[in-house]
């Protein structure tokens, strides 16, 4: 699977093994946290659909609580597809329109991006509210492409207790979703965060996920230099824009920093597993 100029393609993963592995991770995470299920947003897109399918496998149908959180005013088929998906999996789905909450908020700007980020954060605030009520963890649905590109809202869609899809590129998410038989309506959809009317991921990013994933895979796993990737036949402008996003959004991939002042500091040298059992 090597292109003419020697850049490897994003590998095809074993969907069954991926789903089994991630279900084990989610199931252990629930045990560790002592919670009884997962709360998640079910948008009608493929990421949340696959995450829901895996959570279902990990926790069982009564333990996955999905919420559809429409923000836009345009009529989309998202609600219908989210419903089809929930019925396909046999999980509970409730709808909470977030548009009125955003409309009622005294925002500093009416510009689409600022409003979109606020919408994303309102969605997660609602999910955490429901998670507390349902004794559940919040399941994040971000994939590796989004996280690497920083195509996310800090403390918005990124706010979650775990990211089961965080090591799968978008094209791998699609492939796994297709392989495990998720409905075509979900797999074939145009990716969108639906933070404003007409928004699409690929329109906003300016390149396709299949282009981005080729560059990201070559850079991350392949440890190729940018000039090697550009020399492999991929549009040099796309290579530059993808890697620029990776670099510019490095801060989104880290927790807030703590300047070290003492001999033992959280995150520097006070390091315990999340599941801290037994003696201190």
């Amino acid at each position: 699977m090597t292109t003419a100029a020697g850049i490897d393609k994003v590998p095809r993963l074993d969907a069954d093994l991926v789903v089994r592995a991630l279900a084990i991770a989610l199931s252990q995470t629930l045990d560790d946290a002592g919670r009884s299920g997962f709360v998640m947003g079910l948008s009608g897109g493929v990421d949340s659909a696959l995450a829901a399918a895996i959570a279902l496998r990990a926790a069982g149908p009564g333990a996955v609580h999905a919420f559809h959180l429409p923000a836009g005013t345009a009529i989309t088929d998202s609600a219908e597809i989210a419903r089809e998906m929930a019925d396909h999996l046999g999980i509970d789905l409730k709808t909470i329109p977030v548009g009125p909450l955003v409309d009622g908020a005294p925002l500093a700007t009416s510009e689409a991006r600022g409003r979109g980020n606020f919408t994303s954060r309102i969605r997660m605030a609602l999910l955490y509210d429901r998670a507390a009520a349902l004794d559940a963890l919040v399941l994040g649905t971000s994939n590796k492409s989004e996280i690497a590109l920083g195509y996310t809202t800090l403390w918005g869609d990124m706010a979650a207790d775990c990211w089961p899809l965080g090591d799968l590129y978008k094209t791998q998410v699609l492939d796994v979703a297709r392989s495990i038989g998720l409905p075509a309506a979900v797999v074939e959809r145009t990716p969108s965060a639906e933070l404003w009317d007409g928004q699409t991921d690929e329109g906003e990013l300016g390149f396709s996920y299949s282009q981005a994933d080729l560059v990201l895979y070559a850079y991350l796993e392949g440890r190729r230099r940018p000039e090697e990737i550009a020399g492999s036949g991929i549009d040099a402008d796309v290579v530059e824009r993808v890697l620029d996003r990776v670099q510019r959004n490095a801060f989104k991939r880290r927790l807030p920093w703590i300047p070290k002042l003492t001999t033992r500091t959280v995150g520097h040298d006070f390091l315990h597993p999340r599941a801290w059992r037994g003696p201190a």
Partner: protein, 296 residues
């Protein structure tokens, strides 16, 4: 080998940081094995504690004065046991160690010499590296404990076999990477390496890896029993707990060593001299690309 030994590999999922729960699990499995006529039960690396301990290493470290140490030794009253634990040395340092227990006593303990501290691994932050590799006499033959990363340093296996090891008890906590074509690419790679050792040195390889999830690691299972001609006799599931039971027959070792006597004619002195030359200051400088500095 003095006699055949029936080995059971326990591919388990320990509870991170919970010695009591893990001891109970070890006890149950050892008891079942003893009832079924097994001679030796092999658990993975850090089987008493789990892997992603971070700063918990101190809390779960064992030494002969620890209240639970007698329970550890007692595991081996009816059947031999190889397991992984955190050792608090008499020197006060913490080691990632493997133990071979026999009739309620510690027959052999091995401190992991190479602690992976790269990529996703951070072991040398929390453990002190061991300094020796030693083969030892088990009741049924000569063995060596090889702990995880050590399998990726061929000199460890070479050193163990040069001291007469006939069975390599390789214990690991290898996370799965590359879920492709029904297995982890990483575990396929592991077994490829171990099968090469088995074949090159004509030794039995008993490989115990764990499963389960800790702190972002999905452990890749794929434990194995590999015959001295390199054949994989048994392989564990890539994700679920599993048990592999096999009789290691001295006759297989004998046949393999007749068919492939290569290691029997190893020239240790030649290797010692080569290593001495490689370790000399000027040779090390050359190897590090400082040729000019090395010249007088």
């Amino acid at each position: 080998m003095r006699r055949s030994v029936t080995v059971r590999v326990i591919q388990h999922r320990p509870v991170l940081g919970d010695l009591q729960a893990n001891l109970a699990d070890h006890r149950a499995r050892v008891r079942a094995a003893a009832e079924e006529g097994v001679d030796l039960v092999v658990f993975p690396e850090l089987s008493l504690t789990g892997y992603a301990l971070g700063d918990l290493v101190d809390a779960v470290a064992l030494d002969p004065g620890h209240a639970r140490w007698p329970e550890v030794l007692a595991l081996s009253e009816d059947v031999d046991v190889a397991l992984g634990y955190v050792e608090r040395g008499a020197d006060g340092y913490l080691y990632n160690a493997g133990a071979y227990l026999h009739r309620g006593e510690l027959l052999h303990s091995h401190r992991k010499t190479y602690l992976p501290t790269y990529g996703p691994f951070d072991e040398q932050r929390f453990f002190t590296p061991g300094r020796t590799i030693e083969a030892f006499d088990a009741p049924w033959g000569r063995a060596a404990l090889v702990v995880c990363e050590e399998a990726w340093h061929p000199a460890i296996t070479h050193g163990a076999v040069a001291q007469g090891a006939e069975v390599l008890l390789t214990i690991s906590n290898a996370p799965g990477r590359g879920p492709q074509e029904g297995d982890w690419a990483s575990q396929r790679g592991w077994r490829g390496i171990l099968a090469s050792y088995a074949r090159l040195y004509a030794v039995w390889v008993v490989y115990a890896n764990r499963v389960g999830y800790e702190e972002g690691f999905v452990f890749g299972g794929g434990s194995a029993v590999i015959a001295p001609d390199g054949r994989e006799l048994l392989v564990g599931d890539p994700l679920e707990p599993d048990e592999l039971t096999a009789a290691l027959d001295p006759a297989e070792l004998r046949r393999a060593r007749i068919a492939n006597p290569a290691h029997g004619i190893e020239r240790h002195q030649m290797l010692i001299e080569a290593l001495a030359r490689a370790a000399a200051p000027e040779a090390r400088a050359v190897a590090a690309g400082e040729r000019e500095k090395a010249q007088p």
